[in-house]
Amino acid sequence: MITFDEVTKRYADGTVAVDRLTLEAPTGEITVFVGPSGCGKTTSLRMINRMIDPSEGRVLLDGVDVTTIDPPTLRRGIGYVIQQAGLFPHRKIVDNVATVPYLLGWDKKKARDRAMELLERVGLDLKLAGRYPFQLSGGQQQRVGVARALAADPPVLLMDEPFSAVDPVVRTSLQEELLRLQAELNKTIVFVTHDIDEAVKLGDRVAVLRVGGHLAQLDDPATLLSRPADDFVREFLGRDRGIRRLSFVSGHEVGLRADLTVPVSTETAGLRDTAEPWLAVLDEDGRPLGWARTDDLPASGTLAGVPLAPYGTFDRGRDSLRAALDATLLSPSGCAIAVDDAGRAEGVVTREALSEALDRVAGGAHA
């Protein structure tokens, strides 16, 4: 556990970057520091590994004041990932990853084996191990940065806007990778970002800081979104707060209609009279193929020859209501198809079912 106890940082020029910050980052959880530029996120993070020492107060690592630990020793036990990855341009990828094991005096073979294992773990092609950093894309470099931080298996990981410099698609995959890794590794992670979406996606707990280094609110993401502590937090969360909250509502909250799905082998003749304007057509295995408009169905034959409209799906077990809403927007039918882990349709989510679920959720928490 990392504890900030009344920590203040005043720089030489008088700037108060962090003001009497008190909070805990629990072991095995991701604690996110989020806030506008200049609010003291980086300063706070660096006081954990002593790249900066506090002016007042203490930072404790499992109860031990970090200023009592020799900086290089302390740092070798704390992984650190930054925005530009900070890879050593003159070392091959495998040696970059093995940096801390080398510093700890592991023998070369063991350090490299460990590095290869980690490259695999963060989802990198092992062919890249012999390359230099300039030969990698930004997203790949960032994965190497994560692998390097994990190389000596430190219990603590500090991440300073690690995914801000990559494009949104890569960022999403890196975020998911981090959550997957964290599920396996259970590190104590402090993650800095200025992106509230990233904060609520990754954080077990989110600390919102305001300029001057004051802690405005510390809560789990769902509570943060439903009950912002004050106007600053509310404004920082932005207009999309309602939509974001949907991310924390399970897909199971919404009711399904099984009667709107039909196998592709069904004869069209019997379907033309249904009151429903759209039907979700499934293949033999029950996977969605698309939407058929009932008014346009031919008089005879099966659904196999019918032109189908595009569809959106969401996984009820894994996805949130936000994904369900998104999926309804992708279909001309205005409905989303709920699928299981194997991609088989479980039923259809209609707009009515969705708004019913939204009403229920909105009733549960007053913003």
Binding site: Q84, G86, F88, P89, H90, L103, P133, R148
Partner: protein
Amino acid sequence: MREEPLVRWDWIGRNWPSIQSLLEDHVVMSLVPIVVGLLVALPLGLACVRWRGIYQPTMSLMNVTYSLPSLAVFVMLIPVTGLATRATVIVPLVFYSLAVLIPAVVDGLGSVPDHVRQSAVAMGFTPLRRLLLVELPIAVPVVLAGLRVAAVSSISLVSVGALVGRGGLGYLFIDGWQRQFYTPIIVGVVLVVLLAAIADALLVLAQRLLTPWSRARGTA
């Protein structure tokens, strides 16, 4: 005598042993200042990076030295190092190479990206290891670029030493000039240019081998 050929090959043949020893002299007198210059520039450059305040004064001093005409400096040194000695030529050339190499070391260390330095700190490098394993290796391309300039100018400046009696291949220029005989001059020019070209090529090769990781700076 009107029909005298531009290059008298027989003269080259007859004088080859002495040309060879002039060449050796030239190589030694241009190489030593570069090597000594590099050995001195490294600690001085590091000091300039560590204590920013001394960089400007050091460079002013170096630039003043650099602006002194080499001949004047050679002459001034004669009472100290002796007439027609290697030292008379080598000492000033060390200073000339310092004027190029100190900024090269400083700029080289300056070329280490801040985020790389920060991440070295964050991973638990001690300052000394950080310098030796991260900062200096990354500075190599810039330092080598400076070394190329220093090497070529050192090779060409040695010739001026001929005016104080010790100039390696430069002797051939004086000899040819005094006798209005072009062959030695041409031999001297060709060998000096060749020497500079070979030194430069070797340094480029060293750069390729030492820094396979540097792409854009590779040809600088």
